[in-house]
């Protein structure tokens, strides 16, 4: 009797505060584990209209498959990597899937892998999970849960290499007061297809930084989604991508401010070069009625290096309360800035070197925010290699 009353009271309260999903984003379908709630897209749907569905090579059909990526990792003391059932993952409180590939991944992966960092654990070294695909024809469903307990401090890096047709849901559960840094590197071979959703639940007064880096693959579509379990959480969502000829790299962001006094800051930077290079960036911030005192900013910058590229960039902001600290967005897609090049060249620096320097700076500005020295170094090296391979070769 008492329990019933309490539950009823809580439901009423939650309905009033919209803690649950009574009001959903206009741009993101309601979350659901039921694959039937996420029908096969035809390509005109808001969330699919930028994606080349034919090039997903049947990934959305939802065929069963036992294939897996190879996992390679060394775990620090106290950190465990185990297999849990789909239901157990759900009970941990992960965010429900909000598109077809993430729903299929949960439904078909046959359980999840749980990386568990217990409460009050401070890790000195990053935990690196190396996930390698065995071949472009492998169909792989992935379900990963990264759980970092209250007041812990951890850096977790996922490195995707090799090739596969891979759809995955990665849940990041950040305990109260924890400080978590997650980096997801998509460094696939040219023929890989990767549809990923990283769904982050931020605990009370916790801070999380999530960096998505996409270089390789034929089609990579990554979704980063943040919600807050309690007030006071902060999320920084960073991204860096470099699309070469024929590549489609898509990044979709969704910061759902469902709690008061929470923060989100999104910065994604990309460069494109070569015929048919296509990047898509969709930013979305929802400020619910309950989310008073929040602060949010989203920004996307693209550098178009050659003809024949296309960069789509759409920032969105859905606001249901004006009682906030701040909300803003910016998007810019441009070629090299002639004034920057003139400034550098007026100091004797050749045109080629000036371009290299501007591009280096464009990405370095973001790379130095990642906060993991070995990853920053690797990113710098990779960016320089990309530049040397393509941008600068015509100018030699």
């Amino acid at each position: 009797m008492t329990t019933t009353l309490t539950d009823a009271a809580r439901e009423n309260l939650e309905a009033g505060l919209e803690v649950k999903h009574q009001i959903t984003s206009h741009l993101n379908p309601p979350p659901s584990y039921d694959v039937a709630d996420h029908p096969l897209p035809v390509g005109r749907e808001e969330i699919w209209r930028f994606t080349p569905i034919k090039r997903l090579r049947g990934l959305l059909d939802g065929e069963a498959s036992d294939a897996e990526l190879t996992w390679d990792t060394t775990l620090p003391d106290g950190v465990s990597l185990t297999r849990i059932s789909t239901d157990e993952a759900r009970e941990l409180g992960e965010l429900a899937p909000n598109d077809r590939p993430s729903a299929l991944a949960v439904a078909l992966a046959g359980g999840a892998r749980l990386l568990d960092v217990p409460a009050e654990t401070e890790l000195d070294e990053p935990v690196v999970l190396r996930l390698t695909g065995q071949g472009a024809d492998d169909l792989v469903w992935g379900h990963v849960v990264l759980r970092v307990g209250a007041f812990s401090k951890a850096t977790i890096v996922l490195v995707h290499t090799g090739s596969a047709r891979y759809a995955a849901t990665t849940s990041v559960l950040v305990g109260d007061g924890a400080q978590v840094n997650v980096v997801s590197l998509q460094d696939w071979d040219d023929d890989a297809v990767h549809l990923g959703r990283d769904a982050i639940l931020v605990g009370r007064d916790a801070t999380v930084r999530h960096t998505s880096v996409s270089f390789g693959g034929d089609v990579v579509r990554m979704h980063a989604n943040v919600e807050y379990a309690a007030p006071g959480g902060e999320a920084e969502l960073l991204g860096l991508y470099f699309a070469d000829a024929g590549q489609h790299l898509e990044h979709r962001l969704f910061a759902d401010h469902n709690q008061p006094r929470t923060k989100s800051n999104v910065v994604y930077k990309g460069a494109l070069q070569g015929q048919g290079a296509h990047t898509v960036w969709i930013g979305n911030v929802l400020i619910r009625k309950v989310a008073e005192g929040i602060e949010t900013y989203e920004e996307n910058r693209n550098l178009v290096l050659t003809d024949g590229c296309q960069a789509d960039s759409v920032p969105n902001l859905e606001i249901e309360t004006g009682e906030i600290e701040g909300a803003g967005h910016a998007s810019a897609t441009a070629r090299f800035d002639d004034e920057q090049l003139f400034y550098l060249r007026s100091r004797g620096v050749s045109e080629k070197e000036a371009r290299r320097l501007v591009l280096h700076g464009f990405f370095q500005d973001l790379i130095r925010k990642v906060g993991v020295p070995e990853i920053e170094e690797r990113l710098t090296t990779t960016v320089e290699a990309e530049l040397a391979k393509n941008v600068l070769k015509d100018l030699v």
């Binding site: 920057q340 400034y343 007026s346 004797g348 620096v349 464009f362």
Partner: protein
């Protein structure tokens, strides 16, 4: 040894209504070791002269010549002009996010010399140059011009002038927006540069204030894309007292 010779220079910019002529025949020679001040009201073409000589792509040279020690400057690319010995301190230095001041300075020095500077002496030189201009030691780690105050931008331009040490320096309103302390610091830097043998300076300014600290050998008054008057330092004093009005009225009356 350096002589910058500008002869009958005509420059235009593209506008929606077609090309518009900004410089209408400028002739000016800066000989070995001379400092020339160019003064004039806003819109008279002072900055256009500076940027045209440096090779900014926005400006079309429609006539005349510019030579540095006899070499055809107008035939050179922007970076070739710098390597030939020209330097432009800009009124509005450009931000280059993510590129640190120290990386930028080293890259420029390497480009100018054709080889990387000796690390130990270079670091010492950079630190000394920054210090002389009252710039914090951590300045080298900051992104070029990003988040700099107006004064920091100008002091950074003069630090570059000293470190890159060109033959001829063009200073485009380096004094604008500076308080008196910053103006003194910047002027001292320019004076250290021109105390060396044979360095030429073309100092563009709207105000006479900076000429109290950097005394010019010649003063040219720029009005409507041409030199309207020229003389020695005393001309600056006359301008200080009378302003540009008499030149402007003369133009209007024509």
């Amino acid at each position: 040894m350096s002589t910058l010779e500008i002869k009958d220079l005509h420059v235009s910019v593209k506008t929606d209504d077609g090309p518009k002529e900004i410089l209408k025949g400028v002739t000016l020679t800066i000989k070995d070791g001379e400092t020339h001040a160019i003064m004039g009201p806003n819109g008279s073409g002072k900055s256009t002269l500076a940027y045209s000589v440096a090779g900014h792509p926005k400006y079309d040279i429609t006539g005349g010549s510019v030579t540095l020690d006899g070499a055809d400057v107008l035939a050179m690319t922007v970076d070739e002009r710098a390597r030939a010995g020209l330097f432009l301190a800009m009124q509005y230095p450009v931000e280059v996010p993510g590129v640190s001041v120290s990386n930028f300075l080293r890259t420029a020095k390497t480009a100018l010399d054709g080889e990387a500077p000796k690390l130990r002496t270079w670091v010492k030189d950079v630190n000394a140059a920054l210090q002389q201009l009252n710039l914090d030691p951590t300045f080298g780690q900051r992104s070029v011009n990003e988040g700099f105050s107006g004064g920091e931008k100008k002091r950074h331009e003069v630090a570059q002038l000293e470190l890159l040490n060109p033959k001829v320096a063009i200073l485009d309103e380096t004094d604008s927006g500076l308080d008196i302390d910053a103006l003194k610091i910047v002027s001292e830097g320019v004076n250290r540069f021109r105390a060396q043998e044979g360095k030429g300076v073309l100092l563009i300014t709207h105000y006479t204030r900076i000429l109290r600290y950097i005394e010019p050998d010649f003063v040219h008054v720029f009005v409507d894309g041409k030199i309207a008057d020229q003389g020695g330092p005393e001309l600056a004093e006359a301008l200080e007292a009378e302003g540009y009005d008499k030149y402007l009225t003369k133009t209007a009356a024509v």
